[in-house]
Symmetry: D3
Subunit: 339 residues, 6 copies
């Protein structure tokens, strides 16, 4: 099975351990980005995953490519050219101190790329699934346009399309997001979001739900999902439910809804190693399960277990196997040494 | 606004991660010390903070100076000379294993310095606040004497004086501490201590309070504060309230009392990254709030939020901004990624 | 007092921090192995501890020797020769992600060694205690044979023998384990195991006990211990009781039984730094307490406090002093800074 | 004595040791840039050095500020604002493999800043020396313009001006450089360059000189210096003479010329630790010597010894004292341990 | 163009910096092995390079796979199974202290693999070049046999075969090597060796040559090459010429001979960063040049420049581009910063 | 064979790589000191080496003990007590930048110890050789006195005594050194020094010798040695001859003289990894060779080869085997990989 994701791969620069930016004399240098993270998840699960983007020819661009090849992602459709690899600086929080992200991604090779640089027909040949997130069209008019052309080509090839709403207010306003995303939603089959995205992007509110109180209100999420389905005709809506106790401890669960029945996962209490990429790892698990036609309860259980494990792994990428995810989904979260 | 702190800046040598001393082949080398830590807090909040001390001319002394300049502390009144930078070795504890400090500070340049090396009149020109802690006079008769002369000069310039009792039984006996500190208290306007200091230094006990049981007993702390005010005429007494669950988890709160009303902060449950300098960061927050004439409830909320954040930061220094402290004081301790 | 332990010392290769194997560009390289770990515990407590094994003459073998000498273990009875130091790769888990061990120990110098290479009479001269674990005889017929010969020689010299059952299913089948271990048990005075070992090795089940539910069932453990005593005539049976909440948090307690009265320790809630070697540190504490003829309640309290502290220490070795253990056993687990 | 330098301070990201970009999982994160490097040199020599630039308010901008404050540079005239800190990636070469620089500095806060953001009259009050390099005006028309306005203001305040030609062909063409630099040269008193700059920027060639053959041809350099003086009326021209044997070994010397007599330094054979900032450290030494009115032979000896030492120091900054430079200039380059 | 290499990929464990094995608490963990190193060279040059071997399914085996995928090597023909990844420990020498290798490779998955596990016909489909070294058949009778079957299949598909003699006396005796290698030479078109290999493996001596004196004797090498051609009918013989001044400095050159004319490269004086894989990088450069039908002088210049650069790069792999090699081959070894 | 050395073991704190003190955020923490270094050399060569000193009971003192036990030195005669472990800070030089040592050793446990704390009769029982250096008596009157008492006891037990003059002008004046050392020399059989020591301590000058010109003048050294023998009746005088080209490159040779014939070693050109402990490693090699009654030419060749290798090893200790030293002494300094 083949899948394609489209987006930006950034250089992630992070102080060691829990140092603050102003204390740091070194950065861990890895790569990450919503759609690339999904591609790595899929490649780890054995899917033939292609990542589509644009990266400079120089060595920093090459290192970005290599970070994906290492985990088996097919990078042959990454256009090479442009000047910059987008950067994000990440300071890891702890306890009451929140993690901080400083974006330095303007003017990246991908953000400046044009649809004509990509051969969509060749890219989608034989492909089953296409995924992008709301970050991609937020990078600029040109990228929004090429995202739409990718969707059109994907549809032409009968590809299922998923979109993680992934609203980032540092990239665009809610108004702009609503305008652009509304246009794209007509191609989307599976809509993924967290507890805030539907409201931020489409103004759709969960009724009777109070995330600040840390309570999951199933009815509220079903209400949101139903409204999304009503408005855009999605086949499935999946919503992640995070309760932030502190930067060190979170609870994590999710729901998938097919317009009829809501399927709710169990909730995990997590000691957090790295929270970035948590949503992407959920999307990766969800897509894998749906590509393999797992029943919906198994699908949501797999996706949540996959992303629960991600929170224990350094870096944007979720480096887990299908077996490891299934073991946790089956209930073994005791963390006993495997020897 | 200008503030002055007086004390010793030490080289802090700490095994990496959670290694024990006997396992360590490397030390993290930072600098710290109660009054220097307060100066860094104040400089981070935008106060013109001067640190007064004595440090050798050699490169280790210079590195100590640089560690303060980096964060904007004015080091122009640090006398240069002498042979040693005081050292403390710190082994970070975890779970039931306590952190350990080994002092190697005897004979440091500051501990051997004399009052005549400091130009107190010049130092206190235009200054609003002067802070020292009980560690400073504990370093020797000569240092106790220069602390008193600093207090006299400060008073002459109309400077408000705060003192953190900070009793260290490895530095002096309770008897000696009581004798010397009693003499100094007459200059002090704001007295800061933890739940044990008042008893250790002045034999003043909290009535009806049981810290070993981890319970905060408001009435007990008010009783201690009232006795301190009665005895020394302090304007304010501030007391920090730590509940040590283990080396990895603490609860943290504080109270300020003006002789009439006790103002109690909320209590934070903290996953600890570095607990050293916690009290100093409280003093730093408190002084900032009082210098800016915050109402007392806001003052104690600011000071406790500031020091709560410190526990998530490596090193002696509390590297947080006023905005970050206010955000936590306003209730956002969920640790959600800021992006 | 002199003690001897017999077993394999392996090179332990571990990714830094919480990195997964596939992310790691570096390994921490330490040494460890059940019986060597016990020897280090005993040496730290002031016992003259001899470790008996075989290690190659080359520098990796020498580094293994040095790792024990550093902590005062007598390595003069380690036979030098053979080609390989056994290796185990350890990936540290966190939260719901379990730690993983990959063994690469086949063909090690010790696993290929023969009884005739060891001068048992000289080794046990003046010795009070001999310890081995179920891992040693699991390494092969030759090693099982030399273990038995060691037991015979120890008995001849009036040495007390302890055995930690330590069943490892990657090393041998339950059937093979039962056959070999049954033969060895007749020499053993003190039998140590965790909640699964008695069942895995001898098919002896705790009645009315449910470890998966995380509940300690005292009656169940007494039942197991009684059956072991009935079958093999042990003087004491000690059982550790671990409740794995996740890879980051465990509860920990233990029981010792003399055939008449069960002595149960308090239970510790632990934030885990390194869980490997936890059982060995229990054995080390137990042996020390029994060698010093502590009363049984003190014995079990000392052994559990010792191993509780081990979980906060990196590496296989439990680097704690008698004073530190006694302090925790006496109830001080608050982790307050010692300064 | 007060000096001002104007330019960009960049984040310098460098793989550890001699790793190539594509191997690197971490970057050393320091800060550097031609004019900031000169300011650090001057501050280390005891000059009151002010660095003028623009840097963002966020933590990466703050860390850049801190990197200068640490070494005593006055950053109070750095304008705060804008989005980006310019970045350069540095791969350190060895033997026949050259070091590589990848610039990612477009759109930095300084490159987008305008003259009106700087209060030149206040900046140059009481200042003796102003330094900039050819990199500053190369950053854009707006920066070229503000450089000229700085020169005009400096001249108004009677400040001596030095300029290091520092031609970078990745920043602008030779034609553009000649046009802009020619306009600026009329304000310049001291012109600094390497063996290629005069030709690259002004088309002025050393007669009878062959740098590729590694031979210093004194007559050739005098010819270049004389032509520069003839054309622009400089008071002094200083030229550095580097012979690159390989990335690991260089020879290093320089000449200063006052229009009458050429003063040539001795030549050093250097094992290179970090070659970046070598030219800036020469400028720093030269300016210090000229500010202190050293005789010209002493001036060039000091400047070359200073920059020789820089090649043994990691990072852009030349962290040496006047005493250390003088000791080498006096002939002690034996590297004997100082104890 | 497609190329195949066959051999073992090992885990390379190396103390940091110049630490000795007995000092090391950490190992750099990379992967390497003669034929894998050649595959990486070829992939870096743009060749579709396939590496054929066998590696375990566990995470250490996976990490080995990933190390090749990262640099674009096709690993789809690596058989997965077996227990061990072979290991070699490397201590880096300096000055008069030689580098040391300790092999721990017995019983690796590849060393125990059988010819029938490989589908030679599929592997060689469309392939132009096949490379192996003398290390491969030295791993055991079974591996010698599968090497021969690979040669037979390659010949059947019209593939050119190169062999690097690579004699390792820790793996087999000279007698055994001669017997096995003689049988394999009949398939080989291009024979590669260093100054000792021809003598060690085939007893063919360079006449009138004295490597211990550090002198290259062209006539001697031609004599060896001619004898090899006479005996085995090779199309080309290429010989590397290393002069070891110390572990820190080497001279490096090579010759290729076609039975008529010897083509000698220039000699490079190298400051050594990592000398391991130097010969493999020569083979990689040579094969690339021959696959692209460079003239023989250009071929030997390219191969020697490629391997000269390798000595400045950490790890077994030669991470250089065709452009970088050509630049050095064209004479630019000055190591000037590229910016 | 048993040997005893007497002196101070210090904590050595060193910035990573070539960082200057003011750049360093971490220190490598090892242990070293002249006489301890000799003990480690001897233990590595298989001698039963005892180190006599005093170290605190706390964990830093314990880590010092462990650093010696690791390499097999007998520490059972180290007195435990006192407050401080002496410290020296070491900044490693490169090229023209010299290494720097900052001592912070005043008031160490050993420097404050008294002769009565050592049981000299027990210490020298069965011992063949006793070694100390001029650093030991320089630590204070009390230590000079206990050194003399050690010498007297050693003589009583028929022990051969060697002394490395090791003059350190930061520890005492030349006058004081001459007075104290003259008194001790009467016990000494073998006197070791570098090219300056005899002059610094005893005012004995090499005739016709010019070390600053980097030339070895054999006649000059013989003259010094003869004068030393004449004055103190030494059996042998050994002098090391270092030519410092730079901090990165030194030449190294030595001479031993028995009053009749001077035996001069070959001279090595060294790329320096760590130069500290070079003289101690010479003493260690010399003592080993003399204890084993090597002929004098072999003795000096062994000692110089041993210390040549030390310069390639990080830390104070010379971690080489007899075989490695003999191999170099026999002429193999080519640094070829041993595999």
């Amino acid at each position: 099975m083949k899948a394609v994701t489209l987006g930006e791969l950034m250089l992630r620069l992070e102080p060691f351990d829990y140092l603050r930016f102003v204390q740091s004399e070194d950065f861990e240098a890895t790569f990450g980005g919503g759609e690339a993270n999904v591609a790595v998840s899929l490649a780890n699960y054995g899917i033939d995953a292609k990542f589509v983007s644009k990266l400079p020819k120089h060595e920093i661009g090459q290192a970005a490519i290599n970070s994906l090849r290492k985990y088996g992602v097919d990078t042959s459709y990454v256009v090479r050219g442009g000047d910059r690899v987008g950067i994000y600086f990440l300071e890891k929080g702890a306890s009451q101190r929140a993690s901080k992200v400083i974006y330095d991604r303007a003017g990246s090779a991908f953000a400046l790329s044009e649809s004509k640089e990509y051969n969509w027909d060749e890219i989608f040949k034989g492909v089953t699934w296409f995924h992008f997130s709301g970050i991609t069209p937020a990078l600029g008019e040109n990228v929004a346009k090429l995202t739409e052309e990718a969707c059109i080509a994907a549809k032409k090839h009968g590809v299922t399309i998923s979109c993680d709403l992934n609203y980032r207010n540092k990239l665009w306003s809610k108004e702009k997001a609503r305008e652009v995303m509304t246009k794209l939603m007509k191609y989307v089959d599976v809509c993924i979001g967290n507890e805030d995205d539907a409201n931020d992007v489409f103004g759709i509110k969960a009724e009777n739900n109070d995330t600040s109180a840390g309570k999951l209100n199933k009815a509220g999420y079903v209400s949101v999902a139903q409204q999304l389905i009503n408005k855009f005709g999605f086949k499935y809506v999946a919503i992640t439910l995070r309760t932030s106790i502190s930067a060190s401890e979170n609870n994590w669960a999710a729901m998938i809804y097919d317009g009829k029945t809501p399927y709710l996962s169990k909730e995990y209490h997590m000691n957090i190693i790295d929270r970035v990429g948590g949503g992407d790892s959920f999307a990766g698990g969800l897509i894998y399960a749906l590509m393999n036609e797992y029943p919906l309860q198994e699908t949501i259980d797999f996706a949540v277990a996959a992303s629960c494990l991600k929170h224990s792994i350094e870096g944007d990428f979720n480096l887990v196997s299908v077996d490891e995810v299934k073991k946790l989904a089956a209930g073994d979260g005791s963390g006993r040494v495997q020897r």
